[in-house]
Amino acid sequence: MHLRIDDIAKAWSGHTVLDGVSFDAGENEFVCLLGPSGCGKTTLLRIVAGLTAADAGRVILGGRDISALPARERRMGLVFQAYSLFPDMTAAANVGYPMRLRRDAPAKIAARCSELLERVGLGGLGARFPDELSGGQQQRVALARALATEPAMLLLDEPLSALDPAIRGQLRSEIRLLQRALGIPTIMVTHDQEEALAMADTIVCMNRGRIEQTGSPRDLYERPRSRFVAEFIGRANLLPTAFVRDAIPGFLERRPPGDEATYELCLRPEDVVIENDPRGEAVIEDTVFLGNLARITLAWRGRKLLVEQPGRSALNRGELVSVDALRGAWVCA
């Protein structure tokens, strides 16, 4: 089903938290709401779920305006960061909970519970209580519960951020596989850009209650439109126009017209090419060995530049290098 968020605004006691937010989530699409802490992601998700009332704007699901519907009638499956399982119900009872509220037949509930638990990889653990399950398993139960009533949409609020990195990675791909298999449109909130890049079809990057940019992960990474997006997603070298004119004038061609200060050039560290050159203009200040890549800091014409090279770098501190850039994007400063 298609979801349309239309010009949503929300203020908490006079303090604006969401300011005219609009985006679309298409059928089967996995959308990540990405942004720093406090930018209003959770608030937006709760508005979509019907748990919080917006001050203005509409939520349209499958062509129907659902803004006035209470949460229970919206058919949304919700997964929270943590602590959302009923502590004195078993995993199976937790999963069956929404169906029991709907007064489904017990036999049907039982069958669906074990099917769902199977799906999230917990077959046979239905009799366990939440405190007998690991954090990752608890989130799987929460996921199964969210799917129990065949929701129109899945809403995930940082479902992985309370887990340790190894399990996080594994659950990422499982959630994504499950979502594809069920073909259910999903919005996931996260402040982890790596997670958003890895999972999303579309990333909605938010900052201070506004959308900075919407697009595919690749779009946002390669063609960030603002300094905020460039810095929030991946690492970026941001160079002012005057510097570019002196150092790498080739990039000036594609610069949009505008004042000196309105645009900056964003160079991703892996797009910077350096070569050992005794007559080079840059000097290597520091190299950090990161296993599969090396992170190098240069001093170049009075600026610091971050460079990443795959594999093991042969460059050492103090060596002179020449600098060139493969590609770059102009962003609003």
């Binding site: 019907g50 949460a71 229970r72 929270f80 009923f86 119900m89 509220l101």
Partner: protein, 547 residues
């Protein structure tokens, strides 16, 4: 949008409204009545004559002075002994800590005057010691009152101080140790600073209780008449309600002050860190253990001795002349039979049951209430902690013996239950609210998106977390109601006897053995309740219902 939000809010308001109404009628209204009565004359005209009259009677300033003296002395003794006992429990390697804990339960199971009763039986002019040794013992007066009050206050001090001790992280001691601090210096530099506020809070609690408790004062005070006894005399003896109300207001002032100070103290203390870390294991230090053990023995032997004396007295034929052992006192020997005990139990069950419902509704209603509602409600719900039982009971007499509700309420079990419920409302409310704070918000939302209503939120999200608190609240109110005396003393009628009041009446008339038998019935009922509570909490911990 906002249909659900609005509906939730309506239900929330309803949850708040009912307990608030009860607080209004059964707490604020009687309290206001006392205040008004103290500044009006018989015709209801405003006057300060009652306060002027306080100074006409030379007995009253003297009684006030005595209350103050006994209050300070009791506070000093109780806090220092309580500190030692708490240290013995948490910072020593003494064996038999379970025994110390059990002994400390005794005063909480009995009305305050039972300790005084035991003291009289043991060391009174005709007490056991005199009978056995011929020594001229006379415990009545200051010293008797001091001992009885100290023994009564001890467990509460130990509980407060123990909580603070348990919150002090072991790493502070590790740090002090690594810098070469001796155990004594560690006590002075690590332990005491973290206990400051707990000690202060405990001191104020004991001071207020001593000031306003009159059960012990009546039994063992003798000619050392304190303020609480004077109030009792004015109201029950001379039926001078205006004077009683005025004296009540005088008692209210220090009680309010001490509760306010304790609140400030708690606020300052809560800023400390609560991260647990390594559990603390006291180092080997024989002298410390010997000293703490000695003091513990000194404090607890009298306690156990006094209660044991009451138990003994309850099974002798004709105290103190014929000490043949007999169960006659329990089998028809009690003047009113088991009636008062049954009434006490009925009343306590009513207070506990109604109390749990009201406090649950109040805490649940407050969960999502905006601050401008939550703050004042919280204040009113906690205010009973600052109102002495004597004052509240007086308010009940003034407010309910006449007026529109009196037809239903006068002399009923319900009115007595209401009095003891609202006397102990603050602590019950605090317990329940603490329990409910543990409900994760995500759980509320999970119910809502699953299609549940407020009822489902309460049943499935709130109740599992609040259940232990509800059990504790129920039994707390039950046990307190079983032993309460100062509040309900004005409310009993000849047809409606309560066990704790009966103990006092029998003691006044010299029937010590029968008084002791009633006292032991209360102790037994309270002990059973305590056991039931522990069992239930234990079962609840293990049990899960599979829905």
């Amino acid at each position: 949008m906002g249909v659900r939000v609005k509906r939730m809010r309506t239900t929330g308001m309803l949850l708040l409204a009912v307990p608030l109404l009860f607080l209004l009628v059964f707490f604020l209204h009687p309290l206001a009545t006392v205040l008004v009565r103290s500044v009006t004359d018989a015709q209801g005209m405003p006057t300060f004559a009652n306060y002027v009259r306080l100074f006409d009677d030379p007995g009253l300033p003297r009684a006030a002075m005595r209350s103050l003296v006994i209050g300070v002395a009791t506070t000093l003794c109780t806090v220092s002994l309580g500190l030692c006992l708490a240290m013995a429990l948490h910072r020593s390697r003494l064996p038999g800590k379970a025994l110390i804990r059990t002994a400390l339960l005794l005063p909480m199971l009995a009305p305050s005057l039972v300790l005084a009763l035991g003291l009289v039986c043991l060391l009174g002019r005709n007490g056991l010691v005199h009978r056995l040794t011929g020594l001229p013992t006379d415990i009545y007066g200051f010293w008797g009152l001091l001992i009885a009050n100290t023994l009564y206050g001890l467990p509460q001090v130990v509980i407060i101080v123990s909580a603070a001790l348990a919150r002090t992280p072991a790493r502070h001691y590790d740090a002090a140790e690594s810098m070469g601090a001796t155990p004594w210096r560690q006590f002075l530099d690590v332990t005491i600073p973290r206990l400051r506020f707990a000690l202060l809070a405990a001191a104020f609690l004991v001071f207020t209780e001593t000031l306003t408790d009159f059960g012990s004062a009546v039994v063992v005070g003798g000619s050392y008449r304190v303020l609480a006894v004077e109030i009792y005399g004015e109201v029950v003896g001379q039926l001078d309600f205006a004077m009683g109300a005025t004296l009540g207001v005088v008692l209210l002032a220090p009680a309010l002050l001490s509760v306010w100070l304790a609140r400030m103290a708690r606020r300052r203390q809560d800023t400390g860190d609560a991260s647990p870390g390594r559990t603390l294991v006291p180092a080997r230090h024989p002298w410390r253990d010997v000293a703490l053990g000695g003091i513990s023995l000194l404090a607890l032997l009298p306690l156990v001795g006094v209660v044991a004396t009451v138990a003994y007295v309850s099974v002798v034929k004709l105290w103190p002349y014929d000490r043949t052992l007999t169960l006659a006192n329990y089998m028809g020997g009690m003047p009113d039979g088991y009636g008062p005990v049954a009434t006490s139990i009925t009343m306590s069950l009513l207070a506990a049951g109604a109390g749990v419902l009201l406090v649950f509704a109040l805490s649940a209603g407050l969960r999502r209430a905006p601050p401008f509602i939550a703050k004042p409600v919280q204040f009113i719900a906690s205010l009973p902690a600052a109102v002495p039982g004597l004052v509240l009971g007086l308010g009940y007499v003034l407010a309910f013996n006449h007026g529109p509700l009196s037809g239903w309420l006068y002399g009923s079990v319900a009115i007595v239950a209401a009095c003891s419920l609202f006397h102990y409302h603050a602590q019950a409310f605090l317990t329940m609210q603490t329990g409910m704070r543990q409900v994760p918000e995500a759980l509320d939302d999970a119910v809502a998106v699953s299609g549940g209503s407020t009822f489902h939120v309460l049943r499935d999200a709130v109740w599992p977390f609040a259940a232990p608190a509800a059990i504790s609240t129920f039994f707390y109110l039950f046990m307190r109601s079983m032993v309460t005396l100062s509040g309900v003393i004005f409310l009993v009628t000849p047809e409606l006897g309560l066990a704790s009041v009966t103990v006092m009446r029998l003691d006044e008339n010299g029937f010590l053995a029968q008084a002791a038998a009633y006292a032991m019935c209360v102790v037994l009922a309270s002990a059973l309740a305590l056991g039931a509570m522990r069992l239930l909490l234990h079962v609840l911990k293990d049990r899960r219902h599979v829905a």
